[in-house]
Symmetry: C2
Subunit: 204 residues, 2 copies
């Protein structure tokens, strides 16, 4: 009975394991599309244009911003990152579900322009565990650790803007909870009322 | 992280198979309590007081109504039926989830007094299928069939007051969807915000 696809927005503090969860979640749900972000930063080795990112020139990106062609975008240091609107809306119209893995600021922009999206916040089991995970990745200097970990608590405090939380103490369990959230959202009356009423009215 | 239990209210037109679904759902989720209704009608053979129903005298029932001791109640012909408030609220306070299988009128009363409940509407695959199911049960006269089936469409039109719908074309699938709805609701930020923020604040 569903017509329009569901936009699911996944956020969480740096190091919480969003990437792993999203990868597993998409692996199990091949019908959910991952939105490809646009950026003005240079491609790194192995990154493919249109798959890893849409690599754009700064002028091109700013033109798109001016034309309102992003659902959300941000400038991080010298580079822009953003989610092109057209692609996402086209998939949703076609009944395809779309996943955005973005930062909290971006999520709040999406909430303004597309409030019917489902907003999920990934939580660490504890702050201590989050810190340990970041340290274990080993690629952090004391400086970048401070930068990445320092804002975690402030970010968690923004959870009230989200619909659901998922604690990442076990990836498999976290993915299962995401599956349930998507299934429950597909069973929301709000998303299906018109279709349901039309279907039964036609039988009268 | 959950403290208070979740009240799940399950409704649907007569003959849709609510009873079967609820039985299977409770069988799989032994930690969800089925609320025992009160009634003034006489016990039928095999019915046990306190398990099938709380069997009350009319005076006693009316006294409880006067004291606001029901979450919902209704008079059907000569008998009262209702859900005693104290028992349900006590279970919820203790963190136990509670299921109410009641009619739509009752559900709307619950919504007034306990809006944080989860309201689920069970739909038939089609009106034709619903009619066939009622007829197949065989216990219906033409008169009672009219009575039971006649209001089905009007009842379905009240679906906008509900949070979720579940189509009963396959009991196992319907129960799985109820499981997901409960799990998703347990992951709602709205139900857990205070606990989440307290937990992380304590770590700072």
């Amino acid at each position: 009975m569903n017509k329009e696809g569901i936009l699911i927005v996944i956020c969480g503090p740096s190091g919480v394991g969003k990437g792993t969860i999203c990868k597993e979640f998409l692996g199990e749900n091949r019908d959910i599309k991952l939105s490809v972000s646009a950026t003005t930063r240079m491609p790194r080795t192995g990154e493919v244009d249109g798959i890893s990112y849409h690599f754009l020139g700064t002028g091109q990106f700013e033109e798109m911003v001016k034309n309102g062609e992003f659902i959300e975008y941000a400038r991080v240091y010298d580079n822009y990152y953003g989610t092109p609107k057209a692609e996402v809306l086209k998939s949703l119209k076609n009944g395809e579900d779309v996943l955005l893995e973005i930062d909290i600021q971006g999520a709040m922009q999406v909430k303004c322009s597309y409030p019917e999206a489902v907003f999920v916040f990934i939580l660490p089991p504890s702050l201590r565990e989050l810190r340990d995970r970041i340290v274990k990745r080993g690629s952090e200097t004391e400086e970048s650790l401070k930068l990445r970990f320092g804002s975690a608590y402030e970010e968690i405090c923004k959870i009230e803007n989200f619909d659901y939380f998922v604690v990442n103490d076990d990836v498999e369990k976290a993915v299962m909870q995401l599956d349930c959230i998507m299934m429950a959202e597909k069973n929301r009356v709000l998303r299906n009322k018109e279709n349901i009423l039309r279907k039964f009215r036609e039988e009268i």
